[in-house]
């Protein structure tokens, strides 16, 4: 009774925060993480674990050793590049969910160069792979951009579906024509020549792709903040109608932004095959292109913030495995990671919007 009375009298309204102080936007993520860890602690103690010990192991595993830190960076490289890629598209309200597929197509195109010219010197094959990686991703981004720009076809679905096409395309190659003749018919291509692999730093797995990723962040920042094009992108993101009214060519911008976005993801794929696997194989990405969406949101579509978030997220993935070797089952680790994400994303929404209880007046 009281419930229905309340429901009739009051309603919940979600409204956009008009002014968010910088203090709040730092404070809320911090509180979210603390809350997430507290909820996680409850869950851990209910399942018979010592929460502080588990957290200690997680933190130490990711950030407490040179190896841990280096692995965070290894994960951060593809996350940063794909994160920037989707952030760029999201800025224009283009929902590019296809970073995963663009990553695969970039890896495919770069591998094509490496495998076609096994004896080429590094100064030819490396730029070739770089360009091919970019082009592969860019074309895969362009494909759904054309119907979006001309006919208004929803890009969320088309970019998502093209992920499966790209992954299966790579699968069909490594199981078929590109199989390594010396590989006992296993689904792997031949290993790239030394000229076609990115050097790694010291004894770690961090490869030269890290500089490319950092450069990409600078480039995206400059485009968005210091160019007319970036201004146009931001205007279209705020209001497409206003942009059209101001004489901005929306069609051209959709095509260009999706190409650049796809190209960045393609470069991430290039870095992964040239820096980590040194050959094309199936499942080269454990879902970087999807995680990129979370990274981009948590980074508020800001290149510098995305850089920090992708590093932290890298630690999040590395720490997950250390928690397992502390005796936690993989499922528990996933629940913990999921709840941390949930809180951080929820907190993020609360900084942007507020929920108010409003009295209904003229209803019925």
């Amino acid at each position: 009774m009281i419930n229905s009375w309340l429901a009739n009298r009051f309603g919940l309204r979600v409204e956009k925060q008009i002014h968010v102080s910088p203090w709040i936007s730092l404070f809320i993520p911090f509180i979210s993480i603390v809350l997430a860890l507290l909820v996680g602690a409850v869950f851990l103690s209910l399942t018979g674990n010592d929460p502080w010990k588990v957290y200690g192991v997680m933190f130490k595993g990711a950030f407490g050793s040179v190896f841990g830190l280096s692995e965070c960076v290894v994960n951060a490289i593809p996350l940063l590049m794909t994160g920037l890629a989707v952030a760029l598209a999201f800025r224009m309200l283009l929902w590019n969910i296809g970073a995963e597929g663009q990553f695969y197509m970039g890896a495919f195109a770069a591998s094509w160069v490496a495998l076609s010219f096994p004896h080429a010197p590094a100064y030819l094959v490396m730029p070739g792979m770089f360009l091919a990686g970019f082009a592969g991703g860019a074309l895969w981004g362009l494909l759904p951009a054309i119907p979006r720009a001309l006919l208004g076809v929803n890009e969320t679905l088309t970019t998502l579906m093209l992920n499966y096409v790209a992954i299966l395309w790579v699968d069909s190659l490594v199981y078929g024509h590109w199989r390594d003749p010396q590989g006992y018919n296993f689904p792997l291509t031949a290993q790239f020549s030394d000229a076609a692999t990115l050097p790694s730093l010291g004894n770690t797995r961090i490869h030269a792709g890290v500089f490319l990723a950092l450069a990409a962040a600078v480039v995206v920042h400059i485009i968005l903040k210091h160019t007319v094009w970036g201004y146009e992108i931001r205007i279209i993101g705020e209001s497409q109608k206003a942009a059209k009214y101001a004489g901005i060519n929306v069609v051209k911008n959709i095509l260009l932004v999706m190409m650049l976005s796809g190209g960045l993801s393609g470069l991430a794929g290039y870095c992964e095959v040239a820096g980590i696997t040194h050959r094309l194989q199936e499942s080269i990405s454990p879902g970087y292109g999807y995680t990129a969406i979370i990274v981009a949101w948590l980074g508020k579509l800001n290149p510098w913030a995305i850089m920090v978030v992708s590093f932290l997220f890298g630690g999040f993935l590395v720490g997950g495995y250390t928690m397992q070797s502390a005796g936690l089952p993989a499922a528990t680790v996933s629940i913990l990671q999921g709840s941390i994400l949930f809180f951080v994303l929820a907190g993020e929404i609360l900084t942007r919007y507020r929920i108010c209880l409003v009295e209904r007046r003229n209803d019925q």
């Binding site: 409850v42 103690s45 841990g68 290894v74 018919n185 495995y321 070797s325 507020r354 108010c356």
Partner: protein
């Protein structure tokens, strides 16, 4: 206007704080090793969860067996590790002080070789791969021998002469299994065919089950699988058909349908290897364990398998165990009817390890190479 957010926030915070503090009150005692002897630290990297009832489960049973049968060791597992993360996890385990690392999926191969170069004093054992190093050995079992025996059961018991095979990936290991199974089927029932469906996944219970259903729809009355979950067995159970599982005894998931299953039995191998390492006798090798070593075998028959079939299987089993005869002994024809292995000739390990063609009687295709 109520500031609902602020109120909700404090309520939640207080609730969580109290819960958290209650939880932390519990003290957990650390197990301390009282013995002076230093324990050998052994780690296992798994591709799936230990509860998959299949591949990873079988390795986990092997690890438990190892813990029970070898003193002074400490084992640890890391499960659900994707192929590309194998190198990361292996390095992490080395840094945590693990001296022996078992990597139990093919996809870890390159990563393990990379880590092994950096840590020459750590021993790595990689299941189902082909690359070795002074401190990297490979191990696998001749599962095709058990597959052949299970094929005999299927060939004898099919009524429609159509048997469905739910298969993961078109790689030599799986192709070899399909061929061995088909040879078993055709040895007792030359009219029967084996229909293959690829799922492109090792573990996806729903998809595996759907693939089995599609085979049942096509008139197959026995389902077998090269998959990690009992999904295909459950499909057979629902349809009132028979099923031959894989990896571990899956009878409890399909009590009526289940006939038998080719199974892995890693325990004795793990014990043997660890003892060799402890005694300092271990040397890198490529171990491909036959049925006579007990690494592979058949799960106990269900009641549905008649006595004469059991007898026939037992006879063939003895022949294989004796080493006088093996499954891929000619004449063997391919799908086009061409003789690929001549009469009396035995296929080499090299040829078996890179199988990329199907024997006569298989309905299905392998993606073509250049």
């Amino acid at each position: 206007m109520l500031k609902l957010r602020r109120v909700a926030f404090w309520v939640l915070l207080i609730f969580i704080l109290t819960m958290g503090l209650m939880g932390c009150g519990k003290s957990t005692t650390q197990p301390t090793s009282s013995e002076g002897k230093e324990k050998l630290k052994v780690a296992f990297i798994y591709i799936g969860p230990v509860g998959d009832a299949g591949w990873t489960y079988a390795h986990e049973q092997g690890r438990k067996y190892l813990e029970q049968h070898v003193p002074d060791i400490e084992t640890k597992i890391v499960e659900k590790v994707p192929e590309v993360d194998g190198e990361k996890v292996a390095t992490q385990l080395v840094q945590e002080g693990y001296k022996v690392i078992f990597a139990t999926s093919f996809g870890y191969m390159d990563g393990i070789i990379n880590v092994a170069k950096k840590y020459p004093n750590i021993i790595f054992l990689h299941c189902s791969g082909y690359k070795t190093a002074p401190n990297v050995g490979t191990y696998f079992g001749r599962m095709y021998q058990a597959r052949y025996l299970s094929g005999i059961v299927a060939g004898k018991m099919t009524k429609t002469n159509k048997i469905g095979y739910v298969a993961a990936f078109p790689i030599p290991e799986v192709v070899r299994g399909i061929n061995a199974f088909t040879l078993g089927v055709r040895a007792v029932n030359p009219k029967a065919t084996v229909n293959v469906v690829w799922t492109n996944t090792w573990l996806n219970p729903a998809l595996e089950k759907d693939a089995a259903k599609s085979l049942l729809e096509q008139g197959c009355d026995i389902i077998t699988q090269h998959q990690d979950s009992p999904g295909p067995m459950q499909a057979a159970e629902e349809k009132g058909a028979y099923g031959i599982g894989y990896n571990s005894d899956m009878s409890k998931y399909a009590p009526k349908a289940f006939l038998t299953a080719p199974v892995w039995n890693w325990g004795p191998y793990y014990v043997k290897v660890i003892n060799e390492i402890k005694e300092g006798k271990w040397k890198s090798s490529q171990y491909w364990g036959p049925m006579s070593d007990g690494v592979v075998g058949l799960a106990p028959f269900s009641k549905a398998v008649p006595e004469d079939v059991r007898k026939l299987v037992e006879e063939k089993k003895q022949l294989i165990v004796s080493g006088k005869w093996d499954v891929f002994t000619g004449p063997i024809k391919d799908q086009k009817g061409e003789i690929r292995v001549k009469d009396g000739e035995r296929m080499t390990d090299q040829a078996m390890l890179s199988f990329d063609w199907f024997v006569e009687g298989v309905q299905g295709t392998i993606p073509a190479k250049k």
